[in-house]
Symmetry: C2
């Protein structure tokens, strides 16, 4: 069983390597003759076909969007849209208010009952100024999240800013990891927020770190704008 799995992994790695060797095409090699180009791309198509064929498992994924760059919550929203487009149910539980604001809330209302949205935090630490109450609210938010995680009608559960709630000591990592295990086989979960815990990262199926490469934006004194931040 294990050697079968290793064998499959090796085949997949080989195919990935081949596709990189053949390259992306276009005008990256401007002087290549057109018939040679065509042959190369035919070969790449073959490899691509095998890559798709060999990847046949279906599995509910644990996805983490972390890092200091912009796009974490936004990417989770994009996944919600994708899932809703397939007429599957989505639940969003927001652990720290402020990350999600009117724009997307209004837009998503159009999907009616397919989408459940819970904004359970009361604001950033400097708004509430009361960490015991914050902790209680996060605990309640988690209870709500668990209901969706266990319900197989929900194809996607988004735990927005939960990484920060873990970081601030409002909920234990183990409580979250145990909860993730309770979900049905095909339920996807997205956990967002900077400073994702290393052990969560090791337990995830897909982790994207979003880093700020360039942000004159910040130095220019530009305010939070509609459609960008909210």
């Amino acid at each position: 069983m294990i050697s079968n799995q290793n064998n499959k992994e090796n085949i997949l790695k080989d195919l990935d390597k081949k596709s990189i060797e053949i390259g992306m095409g276009g005008f990256l090699e401007p002087d290549i003759k057109e018939d040679l180009y065509k042959n190369k791309m035919k070969k790449r198509k073959e490899v691509q076909g095998k890559r798709v064929q060999k990847r046949s498992l279906e599995k509910g994924l644990v996805i983490v969007f972390t890092g200091h760059g912009k796009g974490k919550t936004t990417a989770a929203l994009g996944m919600a849209i994708r899932t809703l487009g397939h007429n599957e149910r989505v639940a969003i539980v927001q652990f720290i208010k402020g990350g999600w604001e009117p724009g997307e809330a209004k837009a998503l209302r159009i999907f009616g009952d397919l989408l459940k949205w819970h904004a359970l935090g009361e604001g950033f630490t400097w708004e509430t100024q009361d960490r015991s109450r914050d902790k209680e609210l996060v605990s309640k938010a988690w209870e709500t999240a668990l209901i969706y995680l266990k319900n197989k009608e929900y194809k996607l559960v988004i735990l927005d800013e939960i990484n920060i709630a873990i970081k601030l000591g409002y909920i234990s990592l183990n409580r979250v990891l145990d909860g993730l295990k309770e979900r049905p086989l095909l339920t996807h979960v997205v956990l967002t927020g900077r400073n994702a815990h290393q052990e969560l990262i090791s337990n995830a199926d897909l982790v994207t770190e979003m880093s700020l490469l360039h942000h004159p934006f910040k130095e220019q004194g530009i305010k939070a704008q509609k459609g960008i931040e909210f």
Copy 2:
């Protein structure tokens, strides 16, 4: 003028520094007394208020989502939703077909005329196997994009996978940079795709690099799944 701008930047940097010094709160300092905690958070709130007040400019942003991680197109989709939620118009021009598929297309149709969507590529290089035709189609896609970029009724224009079109030599960077300059003052543009050109990055207001931190996902032989890839 320049020294005024520098002065403002310094004030902003100072405020950012102060907020970092005060910290995020929660249980990061578990032993701090509650009244001291409350005072700290009060101070942070003051700083936060000033940070918001000092950032007062409105400006159409050039935003780039690049890197090899997942979430680039997905984050662009999230921004579309946000903008639509404010009843503003959005145009999406897709330069390489395959990045966008049925899920989001179906979901976004619900917004009717507020959203325009053009899928103008014919597929990846290994599907078309014809780079001259690819180049022509990218050129046409760009003409379409320009119409939206110049029309101030469109608050957000998404140029999906255009970074790859530039990388493959299907459109010149300068043509794109010139086009971005033609847009009204308050129009936001998002450019997605890996390998964003360094000069585009330097010209952008906000650049997020999405990197793959962890992806057992790939080795496990899991197939492209509804809601995740499409």
